[in-house]
Amino acid sequence: MQVLIDRYHPDTSPYTQCYDVDESMLSEGMMLLQLLQHLREQDPSLGFRSSCQEGVCGSDGMNINGKNGLSCITLVRDLGQRIHLRPLPGFAVIKDLIVDLGPFYQHYQAIKPRLAPEPSVAADLGQELLQTPEERAKLDGSYECILCGCCSSSCPSFWWNPDLFPGPAALLAVQRFVVDSRDIQRKERLEALNSATSIFRCRHIQNCTAACPKGLNPSRAIQALKHELLSQ
């Protein structure tokens, strides 16, 4: 079996390195991350991020055989005899599979991802802000985002305007607060998206939804936000 990895270090030209992997070292149920860790033990210069190893921390987003995903929850046996790994597209590469997610984080920060409850109620720690199970259920599908970047990195609108278009992850975060019954800034949040380079830059090709390793649907969330915005 062959693992091809697009290698990059600023001191040299980029190249694709081919590792021949003896299949005897593959175990049943082995994840791609374990295979990468094994390769790094042979070659400590191989660069990639990881942490929780169970798909919750969002560190190890990468492009796996052409599709974005998390290495720690991708089974090696599903990837065929030739695995090609590339850094997440659309971001500047720092080293090998490590990209600069700075622009991605900045878009997230720019949408003001923070609950804004009624200040007088929020100050009272003797009370909970009540929410019915139905109201709470509206957050399902958006609060679970792990900020891995797989969605925004698969989005041509984001590739084209990484400075202007918030990208699916940031827009999903907007939706998380817009639908929260405790939040009082719904209108301002929607207004902030009202420009040709913001939410309307999304053309719903649904690459984001296809890429999300958590099974979330940013495209649908964006659609819902557009409806809200246009019906205001």
């Binding site: 660069g47 929780c52 919750v56 609060y143």
Partner: protein
């Protein structure tokens, strides 16, 4: 020019407070301090939302009483009993009293807790919880489905973004800065940018360690790879002892053969443990509460079932966690993350088939000793006659899993860890705020009067290239360390095994001293950061093995075949391990809560 001949240079920054670690504890403290207007920096070796709090599943305990009668006093009792009476009762009292307010505060910050029909926060049953001091099962664990840690960590990060906290993301903390000759005045931290390898000195009036756990000392664990006890290593190197390091929680339900966590929430929602005969065996170990006994009890039960030949699978090496009888909507709505983990890592849908599980190293009850305000403390005369008198280390605080306050004693209750980090994160921030108001003046320490040059000298070895012929690598040493600990310091322990652990760790330490790096790149040098982490893991493992070997009793998670009973006469005391000479000393357990009659140690039955 070789790397060696380059003088090490560094940038310098000044802060009121530097917090090391951006998990729930660090971010909660940072938020409170930032909101008070202090100049705060958070140092994290990963982007904040990648910290291990994100993996916490089941929930956070608070006697809100949303799902039946509850009182903080019952929470206090349960936690003390759960700790096998080693927890400090004054600290546990503070935590349980603060809990309801702290959870409502999190809710106001946006944490998407699951809800009951009446709109209040959903609370589920967890192990070791009771109403009326042990009479009936309580439902005290506040949950956001089974992603409570993720929900809390993201909300805290969001709040810190809003507050404008300065975050040094992907910076590794190397060592604490100390004033030369002083009585251990801590004045900041030496850090390294992981991307560029540039060093920085962060001077701080107060330094707060919030570096989390170190479960990576065991081969099978539920911890992130970043959980390497960096704060504990730094504290030890600064001359601070570690407390109660023999107590490690093995979570009963890890994915068999892999170690990732299957939340206690599965049992709280009605899951049943079965052996190879299909028997729901917990009734034999905890007749009253069965699956909802304390974690140490359930873990030993599973280990014994397997040891006595009733394990499942071809190798008879695990038991089954059966959820198939639960209504589908309970699994879909309350345990979606568990279902995802089971399907991903085992190819098993818990709706249809039981999950193979086996205990996995999960949590470190011990840590850096602190008082109720998170201030790091140590005995005034470590080996003197009156070793119970404790003094604070000026400028240094510790909170969360890296600290030992001690609210978990010999065994932590599920749902108390998320609580611990938020309660003591907030308390430490308050204490630091007060200290800054009292003494707002600048630090008097300079480069020349601190240990900076010694720290830089220590760092030099990582610039020396490894002999290309050597088979010694950071990876092989880490694997060896994990095997030693698993073989000799696991769920069941005895003198002979632990002595071997001590001996083998000493040998490993010698090998580590000879370790150098093959990769000299300055750009995200993973080999180097792994080596720095391994140094800390070694420090943690050594403290564990020495402390465990000395404690000749069984208490909570420390279970000895050769001393199978708890011995309050001789061992109702906290261990303190000093690394420098591998010395042990002890200090008394606090048995006097302020607002409740003391709880006298009793036999622990579930």
């Amino acid at each position: 020019m070789s790397a060696l001949s380059q003088a090490l240079t560094y940038q310098t920054f000044h802060f009121d407070v530097v917090i090391i670690g951006a998990g729930g504890a660090g971010l909660r403290a940072a938020l409170a301090l930032r909101q008070q207007g202090h100049k705060v920096a958070v140092v994290s070796k990963v982007f904040p939302t990648r910290s291990h709090t994100v993996s916490a599943q089941g929930g956070i305990n608070a006697a809100l009483g949303n799902a039946g009668d509850d009182q903080w006093q019952w929470h206090l009792y349960d936690t003390i009993k759960g700790s096998d009476y080693l927890g400090d009762q004054d600290a546990i009292e503070v935590m349980c009293q603060d809990a309801p307010k702290i959870v409502r505060e999190l809710e106001h910050m946006g944490v998407p807790f699951s809800r009951q029909e009446d709109g209040k926060i959903y609370q589920r049953a967890f192990g070791g919880q009771s109403q009326h001091y042990g009479k009936s099962q309580a439902k005290r664990t506040c949950a956001a489905a089974d992603r409570t840690g993720h929900a809390i960590l993201h909300a805290l990060y969001q709040q810190n973004l809003h507050a404008g906290t300065e975050i040094f993301s992907e910076y590794f903390a190397l060592d604490l800065l100390r004033q030369n000759g002083s009585d251990l005045l801590i004045c900041g931290v030496l850090v390294q940018n992981l991307q560029t390898s540039e060093l920085s000195v962060l001077w701080a009036k107060h330094t707060l360690l919030a570096t989390g756990g170190a479960g990576q000392i065991f081969r099978t664990n539920s911890n992130a790879s970043i959980n390497t006890g960096d704060g504990l290593g730094m504290a030890q190197r600064a001359g601070i002892p570690l407390q109660d390091m023999e107590f490690w929680q093995f979570h009963p339900t890890g994915v068999a053969g892999k170690g990732m966590l299957i939340s206690e929430a599965t049992r709280g929602e009605g899951g049943i443990l079965r052996n190879a005969n299909g028997e729901a065996f917990m009734g034999r170990y905890a007749p009253k509460v069965k699956e909802l006994a304390s974690r140490d009890v359930v873990t030993r039960a599973i280990a014994l079932e397997v040891e006595q030949g009733r394990g499942c699978g071809p190798a008879q090496d695990h038991v089954l966690l059966d959820l198939t009888h639960l209504p589908h909507d309970v699994i879909e709505n309350r345990l979606p993350g568990i279902r995802e983990i089971s399907r991903t890592f085992l190819g098993i849908d818990p709706l249809e088939a039981p999950i193979p599980i086996f205990p996995t190293c999960h949590y470190m009850m011990g840590g850096i000793p602190t008082n109720l305000e998170g201030q790091v403390i140590l005995p005034k005369q470590p080996m003197g006659a009156n070793h119970s008198e404790q003094i604070a280390v000026p400028g240094l605080f510790a909170i969360g899993e890296c600290a030992c306050v001690s609210v978990h004693g010999a065994n932590r209750l599920g749902g108390n860890s998320l609580l611990d980090i938020v309660v003591f994160g907030r308390r430490a921030a308050n204490a630091i705020h007060q200290a800054l108001l009292m003494a707002p003046h600048e630090l008097a320490v300079t480069e020349d009067t601190s240990n900076i040059s010694a720290l830089l000298q220590r760092y030099q070895r990582w610039l020396e290239p490894a002999n290309p012929e050597t088979e010694l690598t950071v990876f092989s040493l880490k694997t060896e360390l994990q095997k030693i600990m698993e073989r000799h310091c696991g769920v069941f322990r005895d003198q002979a095994h632990m002595q071997q652990a001590v001996n083998q760790l000493e040998h490993l330490e010698h090998q580590f001293a000879a370790l150098r790096l093959h990769d000299q790149s300055a750009l995200f040098n993973f080999e180097r950061s792994s080596a720095l982490e391994l140094e800390n893991l070694l420090a943690v493992a050594k403290a564990t093995a020495y402390s465990a070997l000395a404690r000749q009793e069984s208490r909570g998670a420390h279970s000895r075949v050769d001393f199978s009973e708890r011995d309050d006469q001789n061992w109702l005391k906290h261990t303190l391990f000093y690394a420098e000479k591998a010395q042990l000393t002890y200090k008394p357990v606090n048995l006097t809560p302020k607002h409740h009659a003391p709880f006298v140690p009793e036999k622990r039955v579930y």
